[in-house]
């Protein structure tokens, strides 16, 4: 599984992009997106998923249930 960004909630503040340890976040079509192939839910890097911790709008970086949980 990976995190995803709810586009309608995203303010494009860019804060998550620089923090992602996997460089999984990029800007696309005026909002930010997470590449599920790169996202490790920050497992092995940090205790807390960084995009969730920095996002100024609650419930914007959420688990994408379309993907299985990341296995370290």
């Amino acid at each position: 599984m990976a995190f995803k960004i709810v586009a309608s909630q995203c303010t494009n503040c860019t804060a998550c992009e620089a923090l992602c340890p996997n460089e999984a976040i990029s800007e696309a079509k005026g909002t930010f997106v997470i590449d599920p192939a790169k996202c490790t839910e920050c497992i092995g890097h940090f205790d807390d998923p960084q995009c969730v911790a920095i996002c100024p709008v609650d419930n914007t970086c959420v688990i994408d249930s379309a993907y299985p949980r990341y296995q370290a």
Binding site: C13, T14, A18, I54, P56, V57
Partner: protein, 520 residues
Amino acid sequence: MTEAVFPEGQSSQPAVDIGDVMQKLAEHKGCGTEGGSGKASCGSSAGPADMAPEIWEKVKNHPCYSEEAHHHYARMHVAVAPACNIQCNYCNRKYDCANESRPGVVSERLTPEQASKKVLAVASTIPQMTVLGIAGPGDPLANPGKTFETFRLISEVAPDIKLCLSTNGLALPDWVDEIAKYKVDHVTITINMVDPEIGQHIYPWIFWENKRLQGYEAAKILTERQLLGLEMLTERGILAKINSVMIPGINDKHLVEVNKAVKSRGAFLHNIMPLISAPEHGTVFGLNGQRGPTAQELKALQDECEGDMNMMRHCRQCRADAVGLLGEDRSAEFTTDKIMAMDVEYDAKGRKAYQQAVESERQAKVEAKKSELDGLEKAGDKKLLVAVATKGHGIINEHFGHAKEFQIYELSAKGAKFVGHRRVDLYCQGGYGEEDALDTVITAINDCHAVFVSKIGGCPKADLTAAGIEPVDQYAHEFIEQSALVWFKDYLAKLEAGEIVHVDRGDAAIRQGALLSQAS
């Protein structure tokens, strides 16, 4: 765009004794915040006698650091720093409105290259633009790569422009050396508390060492970092302004403690601003009904803190992409589309010539003010407020119906002193007056005895008089302070002759919400 948002390194405590520097800064008295005591406080081109020449050089044409300068010089903010590392209960990053005038709100963010182009375009159009600030819409030091790259580009193309930034202070200690390197002479830190017990009601969280921290722990780290950052700036001779948001019932009384804490650490200027809070902003305070202060509550706190510290009372709480004189916003003239199409050449010589003309204009104003200081002793301990409609230059040059704000002056035995401003809705929209808008104006200047304008229609004149506010239009296009003092002496003479009776005025409201006038 891969930059380290939060540096790993922690700065050490300042090693040298900074007592001397702090003493010098803390003892320095007001730039334009002083009443008409007869000395040329920041109004003289040579600088006031009580200010070190190097400090005068830094503030004389900075509209945010000198009340006197803000009538003449303009600033601009470039919105290159969208990311933030803390959450404040008065901020909602989801909110954006072109007509909303408030920090943290911008219409578009810029790359450092776009920002540099925009600065050139504005500097060529507005020669009195002397200051470039980075104030967000997030925190400049949570976007250090973009912030410092912008400063670097601008110092190359427009070296005469003063650079400044505004921060929440969390990351400040890590970047003080970089700030000094780019010759950023002015740093504003928003400090709303020095007690984490109070801070936890203002800051729901901070992002610290890759974690989101909440409550007391978060506020404790924040206040420690803010005060350390302030000490480090003082140590390097960088002027620091402290912004505090006055939140009634939460930190209003506590801001006196904040004032003492920042003064003792060498802050140059303290700016206590009213909370802006409306439900439609979607902020925590807006939604839970937290009110902002009234005009009198704000002034009483500012007066209490004034003592021997400079208080800023001319802050317009502007947007992170504002352009122009404080109180005006010309950002719509400089959208990215427009600036990219502009062919601009930086005319350093022309700018200098224009600014020299501004200096002589400013000198004339100071002389005019001095000429009316005699004969004020009759006032005794009487103090009253007057409102002024002005477009800048320190002159009464705005029509009552066109005023988007009124400047407030306190008249007393000491002279005329600028003590604030009040935003109002545009009363005159397309040539016809509106009753409700006039009520808004009266509510906003209800604590004033008179309103000085260049022109005013018959109807509003009658309504103002009925509300106990004297409309004064005989000083059109004359200097504000000089005219107000002439009027004041006349008022005192009439009192003495028994022609009028002095009546105390009530409180006034501080306007919330978007500036509707720009939509029309």
